[in-house]
């Protein structure tokens, strides 16, 4: 396959970036998207040009490192797929592909396509946990949890923290990410004692990180590689109300 790439190049957080055009001549349709970029980078390096920097690691769609806006879509055009699991067979010979970093004020660009998503870690530190010291846990089967509840919690817990929801949202809102964690914990009895404190803390930190607010458009859900559902956001809102008026 022959591909025309328009890739965002930016030296550092404070520098201005621009798109640069590249052509890849002999891509295979069986390559993953990142392997296609590897292939480009090898040819750049051989010419003594700087490789395109992008985040990636497991390449199995679970670590959440990979990002990329591909033709305006977080993680590319395939639904329920992270960039690392996207294959070139989903594109056509001769296509022009625009590759950008995830754009959000809360995700400053470090270089080229790499962004800093540590804001998510700070949100987690503000309440995304059950306060249980090691060694303090009761027998695992002493608290029963229904199969369906456990599965629901698992569906929320499947979030990989990649930030596609933020990138997809016109408001750069982190609500889907935050609500997935809040939901997981709210559904499980283990999360119950800190329910209110958790949601208040996480929402406050989310606002402080300068993510936008949710206008319920559902773009996040459409972009999520793990297909996390919007009902999590409704649950977060409910948890917030509960934390304010019931607890």
């Amino acid at each position: 396959m022959k591909l025309h790439l328009k890739i965002w190049r930016q030296k550092g957080p404070k520098e201005t970036g621009a798109f640069k055009d590249y052509t890849v001549d002999n891509a295979s349709e069986h390559m993953s998207f990142l392997e296609m970029l590897d292939f480009l980078n090898t040819s750049l390096v051989q010419k003594g040009e700087e490789a395109v920097q992008f985040d990636h690691d497991c390449r199995e769609g679970i670590c959440g490192s990979c990002s990329l806006m591909i033709n305006g879509n977080p993680h590319g055009p395939e639904t329920g797929t992270a960039t690392c699991q996207l294959h070139m067979r989903k594109f056509n010979d001769g296509d022009t592909i625009v590759i950008e970093p995830f754009r959000a004020k809360a995700f400053p660009i470090l270089r080229d396509l790499c962004v800093d998503r540590t804001a998510f870690d700070r949100i987690m530190a503000a309440g995304g946990f059950c306060s249980i010291n090691t060694g303090n846990a009761p027998e695992a089967n002493s608290i029963l949890i229904g199969k369906e509840t456990a599965e629901k919690a698992m569906d929320s817990a499947a979030c990989i923290g990649c930030g596609a929801c933020v990138a997809a949202c016109k408001n750069a809102s982190a609500m889907l990410f935050v609500s997935a964690k809040v939901s997981q914990m709210a559904l499980l009895p283990q999360g119950d004692p800190e329910r209110g404190k958790r949601v208040r803390g996480m929402v406050a930190q989310m606002d402080q990180e300068m993510f936008g607010s949710c206008s319920n458009t559902g773009a996040c859900e459409a972009a999520c590689p793990k297909e996390i559902k919007l009902e999590n956001i409704a649950r977060l809102n409910r948890e917030m109300l509960r934390a304010t008026f019931v607890e």
Partner: protein, 223 residues
Amino acid sequence: MMKCKSFLTSSVGQKFLVAITGLGLSGFVLAHMLGNLLMFVGADAYNLYGHKLTSTPLIYVAEVGLIAFFLTHLGLTLKLTRENRTARPLTPEQLPSNPVKKASFASRSMALSGLMVFTFVILHLVTFKFGTYYETEVDGVKMRDLYRLVAEWFQKEWYAGFYLVCMVILFTHLSHGFSAAFQSLGLQSVHNRNIKRLGWAFAVIVGGGFFIQPLYMYLWGAP
């Protein structure tokens, strides 16, 4: 108290207020639309309804409430939209890309459709509430002849056309806003099928109800 304050200053709390006021305003437009349907019964029925509505002192309480809802809804959404725009730097160049993973047109353009509805409401008040005062008499009681004013305006093609366009915009705003409010209130997901249906039904009823009025007055409202 502290909890309440921190709730109301959080983005989630503010969206909650936007939803509450939005639903309140939705209730108002529904009532307004239903009341206006009296124009199909006849001029007297329509004028009598208007007269009764405005002659109770409660109307002032309702109007103050309505204005408060309106301003809260408008003010908060303006504030949030501004914040949202800073949160999301845009792609510096317009590029030939066609995103497939995107939200509906209505949901992406709420701020714009909202502002248009706001402009319409101001013009609407100037045109009708503060428009020419004709007088009529129904069953011996003197009252405003609002029917005549409405008929006059809707006889003008350009105005009737403008009004119709505005109702389409209102429909767009409601088609997302009504169901989205349920999500902001934590009641249901905006993607819940029933909520979505309810939202669409509501937008169709209100938008449609308002849509047929100028058409009717244009065609058959001539004195």
